[in-house]
């Protein structure tokens, strides 16, 4: 009997080791566009190995319940994950991440309600992981609600930070009681989780939709940490390693994202900003908007040496990315050099626009980010702006009174000609006038993104 247990144990440990290896290799491969696709397959194989091995865990019962829960959870998530539109990916990541946090909290709850923790250290880790997991769960659900448009208001009031601090103190106090073993009543455990869930809600509600990507990334890292802590409690090496790797990788990713969006993490969490402030609009822009017909714009692009396309989220909203790529293919066939210039906040989170372009079939080596492409605008004959606004506004460089002053922008104004596809004449989403539109080398092509791109296609074809 002991032999049998020993071999099952050895099998499980070996499987978890293999899983940890596959996860780390998978993440490594996912950090380069050439190998990224295989990275998720590696990681997926790791998950499969670990899941199967766990069924042989010594002393496991409740198999029917486990299998039913796995089947339902997998089916719902699989269907939603395959069906969601690429524009809605950010909130789905938030949702799945929240589920992971909730699962970590559930593990902690089972352990703490049972109250059989042998050591204070084990109980403390269960409590800390439980708090973090519960915060990540409720916080991620709020983030999902905000990005999905279910929650439109950002709840803010005076003394909010103080209230959050009080809730945190309550959670820590109850956690201390539970962990120290003085008062492991079910009521204390329930109170602990209630306070933690509340903290996630009250922390996330004041944060505006524009800052949500950074918040989701932070909760992703936190869930990783919670998983690692619960891994310690269960003595599960796969959870410790995978959770810790995600915790540290996620923290780094959060910092990179915040930097790409020109925001600091502290600013995101505690300033209650992120809904575009429209109070200060900067110095008034003078000059006139000069319209252009699609036929003329098409000729200009067809005879250009180099065209740089600057897409913004507006392009994805208009579903124009397929038409834009069709236009680019025509230009490429004529020998024009075409590049896409992506600002870090062009989509709804850093890297999101790349996904949307990839969906339309644009190869990733035509896509350049801000640092790579900015020097190239000077040699471009045409910069085509579609659905982007603030990220090409030169006032960010030179007008200190503007609310976007200091934000890194794409230097589209340095191109020999700038064509802006825009619905109408009004100021953009943020309410800030765009000085680029008034430059001498800028022409406005009015119309819906998709229709304008189609008009350009027929113009290029008829050249």
């Amino acid at each position: 009997m002991t032999d049998l247990h020993f071999s099952a144990e050895a099998l499980i440990q070996a499987s978890y080791l293999l899983t940890a290896f596959l996860f780390i290799m998978g993440l490594k491969r996912m950090s380069s566009p050439v190998t990224a696709r295989s990275g998720i397959l590696w990681a997926g194989a790791g998950m499969l190995v670990a899941t199967l091995a766990t069924f042989f865990y010594p002393g496991m019962t409740n198999f029917p319940l486990i299998i039913i829960a796995v089947l339902i959870g997998s089916a719902v998530a699989w269907i939603s994950g395959r069906r969601v539109a690429m524009t809605n990916i950010p909130q789905m990541i938030a949702l799945y991440n929240g589920m992971g946090g909730g699962a970590a909290a559930a593990i902690a709850a089972v352990e703490l309600y049972r109250g059989e923790q042998q050591s204070t250290a084990g109980a403390t880790l269960a409590v800390v992981g439980g708090i973090i997991g519960a915060v990540s769960f409720s916080g991620s659900l709020i983030a999902f609600g905000k990005l999905q448009g279910l929650i439109r208001k950002s709840l803010r009031f005076g003394g909010q930070q103080l209230l959050n601090l009080l809730i945190l103190a309550a959670a820590l106090l109850l956690g201390g009681l539970v962990a120290s073993g003085f008062n492991v009543t079910p009521a204390a455990v329930t109170g602990l989780f209630a306070a933690s869930l509340l903290l996630g809600l009250s922390m996330t509600l004041p944060i505006g939709g524009a800052d949500m990507p950074v918040v989701i990334s932070l909760y992703n890292a936190l869930t990783g940490l919670a998983v690692a802590f619960e891994g310690f409690v269960l003595g599960n090496a796969a959870m410790i390693i995978a959770g810790t790797v995600v915790g540290s990788a996620g923290t780094l990713l959060t910092q990179l994202m915040a930097k790409a969006m020109n925001r600091s993490l502290g600013n995101v969490l505690f300033s209650g900003f992120g809904d575009t402030a429209a109070a200060a609009t900067g110095t008034a822009v003078t000059g006139s908007l000069k319209p252009i017909e699609a036929a003329d714009a098409g000729v200009m692009m067809a005879f250009a040496q180099k065209v740089i396309i600057v897409p913004g989220y507006g392009m994805a909203v208009a579903q124009a990315q397929h038409k834009v790529w069709e236009l680019c293919q025509l230009l490429i066939d004529r020998g024009v050099t075409v590049r896409f210039a992506i600002h870090p906040v062009a989509g709804r989170m850093p890297g999101h626009m790349n996904v949307l372009l990839a969906e339309a079939g644009v190869p990733y080596d035509l896509i350049a980010d801000l640092d790579e492409i900015n020097a190239e605008f000077e040699t471009a004959d045409v910069a085509l702006i579609i659905g982007a606004n603030d990220v090409v506004n030169p006032v960010a460089r030179n007008d200190k009174s503007s609310p976007i002053y200091g934000m890194p922008i794409l230097n589209a104004d340095k191109a020999k000609n700038v064509i802006v596809i825009k619905r109408g004449q009004g100021a953009g989403f943020s309410g800030i006038e765009n000085a680029l539109f008034y430059l001498d080398n800028t022409r406005m092509l009015y119309g819906d993104g998709q229709a304008a791109a189609a008009a350009l296609i027929s113009a290029v074809k008829s050249v």
Partner: protein
């Protein structure tokens, strides 16, 4: 596993996580976040163990919810990450025109379906 060994694992894993993605380009931020989101879906094995050792109805119900959520994390994270990454192609790989998404998704689906169904 002793406490000190666990701390060693923690420390080394933390450095690994940092180093592995230290040079990731901005274009992969969203897929990588989704990918790491999938990786912490490993919480599924913990939730299975928790439910597998549950005795009271309260423990069983919480454990059940835990496994449900964890399976959602793992499978959902896989589904969206795989969908995003399968679309990343270079000009060389473009080959035939009209590259459509959804082709490679099948294999992944079977693989993951195996995680859910093949297990019992």
């Amino acid at each position: 596993m002793t406490g000190v060994v666990a701390l060693y694992i923690f420390m080394l894993a933390a450095f690994t996580g940092y180093e592995v993605i230290a040079k990731v380009p901005v274009i992969l931020h969203t897929p990588l976040m989704s990918g790491s989101n999938f990786v912490h879906g490993i919480v599924l094995v913990g939730a299975m163990v928790a439910l597998g050792s549950a005795t009271t109805p309260l423990e069983k119900s919480i454990g059940f919810i835990g496994v449900l959520l964890a399976a959602g994390n793992a499978v959902g994270g896989y589904a969206v990450t795989e969908r995003m990454l399968e679309m990343f192609k270079s000009s060389g790989a473009r080959g035939g025109k009209g590259s459509k998404g959804g082709k490679g998704g099948k294999d992944g689906q079977d693989g993951q379906g195996g995680a859910a169904k093949g297990s019992p």
